[in-house]
Structure formats: C-alpha cells, structure tokens
Symmetry: D2
Subunit: 109 residues, 4 copies
Amino acid sequence: MENQQYHDCIQACIECIESCNVCFDSCLKEENVKMMAECIRMDRECAEICGMAVTAMQTNSHFVNQICGLCAEICDACGNECKKHDHDHCQKCAEACFKCAEECRKIAS
Amino acid sequence: MENQQYHDCIQACIECIESCNVCFDSCLKEENVKMMAECIRMDRECAEICGMAVTAMQTNSHFVNQICGLCAEICDACGNECKKHDHDHCQKCAEACFKCAEECRKIAS
Amino acid sequence: MENQQYHDCIQACIECIESCNVCFDSCLKEENVKMMAECIRMDRECAEICGMAVTAMQTNSHFVNQICGLCAEICDACGNECKKHDHDHCQKCAEACFKCAEECRKIAS
Amino acid sequence: MENQQYHDCIQACIECIESCNVCFDSCLKEENVKMMAECIRMDRECAEICGMAVTAMQTNSHFVNQICGLCAEICDACGNECKKHDHDHCQKCAEACFKCAEECRKIAS
C-alpha cells in the first residue's frame, strides 16, 4: 500500500520509534535516572523525528530527503548515547537507531 | 520488546497511520479534491491521534485508556467518512480505521 | 486571525507547552533526576496533548470538545505532579497546567 | 521563562503554526479545493516542523540549529505556495511563513 521505495526506511523508523519509546519509559524507571538523563532526552527527540520521517515518506512530502537526512543525524546521536549504557533497552535502542540512520541516509542521498 | 498486552493495538494503530497518510496524499491528488475535503481533514487528525496512542502504549502512559478511547472515536469518524468514497485508498483506509477503533476500544475499556 | 471563541484556551495551551518543555529540560538537569522522573514523563505528555488541542482549535476540528476534555485531564495530572516539587520550573509549570486545564474544561463542556 | 536567545524565533514559529492551521482549515472550505491542494499539503507540514522547532528551542535540544535550518526551508516553501493565492488566509500565511523562515535562519546559522 505504501510507497515501495520507502518500505525499508519506514520499517526501520517504526522499529526505532518503538525502541526509543520503550527506552524512554525504562530509563525513567531505572535506579540511576541521573545517568540516563541524556538518554531520556535523546529518546524523546529521536522518536519525534522518526515519526515525522514516516509521515513524510507515507505522504510523499517534497522534503523527504531533508527530513530523512536530519533523522539520520538525530538517530546517530541517540544511538551513540544509548550504546554507552549496559541496560538491554539501551543496547537494543542503539541498534535500532543505527539501523534507522543507515536507512534514512539511503533516502536522504 | 514492546508491552505485550498492547501488541495488537499498536499494530492496528501503525497500519491505520499508514492508511491515513496514504489516503491524505492520494485525496490531494484526486481530480475532485472538493469532494475529498472532509476525508483529508479526518485522515490528518486520525493519523495524529493514532501516533499519540502508539506513544502512550509504548511508554506505559497513565492515560493509555483515555487516549485509546479518544483514538477509537476519531478512527470511527475517519472510517465513516472514508467508506463513502469509492477510491481504493479510501476503502482501505476505512477498513484500517475500523480495525484500529476496535483494538483501541479493547484497551480503553 | 484565529477562531475567537478559542482565543483564551489556545493562549493557555501555548503557555502550558512552554512551561512543560522548560520543566522537562530543567528536570533532566536537576541533581536528583530520580525524584523528577514522574514530572519528566508528565511534562512530555502534557506538552503533546496541548499541542494537539491547539491544532484542533485552530483547524476547527470536529473533536475539539473531546480533545480539550482529555487535555484538561492530563494538564491536571501534570499540575498535580509538578506542584509536589519546590523547583521554580515545577511551580510555574503547575500553575500553567491548572490554568490550561480550566480553559480546556470551558471548551470541553 | 523561556530561553531568551530563542524568544523571537519561538514567537515567529507560534504565529506561523496558527497561520498554517487557519489556512489549512480555510483551504479545505474553499470552493476550488483542487487549486489549494498544494497549499493544504504545505500548511500541514509547515505547522508540524514549526512545532518541532518550538519544542527543540524550549527544551534546549542539541539539534536546535539543524531543526531550525530545516524549518526555515519548509517555511519558505510554504510561503511561496501560499503567496500564489489571493485568499486573505493564504496571504497572511505567506507573511507568517517568511517571517518565521527569517527568524529560523538566524538561529540555524
């Protein structure tokens, strides 16, 4: 149903949104929330831009390239923050972020 | 990874978002856009509340019930508008909206 | 320019969004982030629903009443959490939330 | 209360969101909706990125520059589309978009 050229990137964004939302919720429940502050901040912003990228691709926005370019940048930053932390939710989130950044860069270029 | 009790509802919301975004884009490209005005309006709003419902479920919001309740109501309205139109994108969107409304009502209740 | 009947409520929502975003950022920078976890969570959600309420009012959505009703509920919950904390950003946020809840209830009813 | 360096840009974004939402609603009510299709599409996207820019500035995001840079680009595109149409809501929207693009470029640079 959706635009086929965007299929993989949309999927990667949807998985990244889930990982970021789960990580956001889990970080807020950790014992050491202070250590997770940057992760919480990045999870929120990453989920937001991924949501915007999904909308852009599904509606054939004229700004798909630019939005996916910015999304790749924010996903990389979120992934880099998450991978610092040993929690499962952070490691899984880092993986989803890097995968999403990779797919977004393909669309952006 | 995600909260299992919400699995089906999250999936239904994600599919509804896609259908609404595709329908929004397709309606704007139809010959008779005037006839599609209400559909365009509902598609946008439905995709927005479905996105909010996904975030609420994935982050274990305290307001999951209320947000899913409102989401069901807006999905039903969007589905009822879409089903009036013969376009494939409208018929598919109506189906996704009604499915999503059903899943959201299970969570809301 | 905007719909006059919604003027006060839109203003209250815009001020509430600002207070929630500032409080979110400030909470993440506090020494005791753990204590602020619930506040961080509510700030994010409250800003999101207030944004949805603004969009609904400015676009004359058919769901203005229901969206403002839910917004009032979430604003009250966010205000109740914020008012527990002595930080200036929390106290200011509580005030903005309660003011917004009041305006939203007028529209919802 | 908000970050003073962003004051003017936040205000410009808030006014642009309002103009875009009013224009979106008004375009959908015009006799000739077909002619307004591109305007409806841009209004939605412009309001979304302006909302993201407001959040970024109010939460001191690490990506304020990049988000405001993209916001400026989308505001310019929306303004250029709106200024083609004689309707008051389009002309006012074009003005708000260009003002917002200008303020966003100051932050982005």
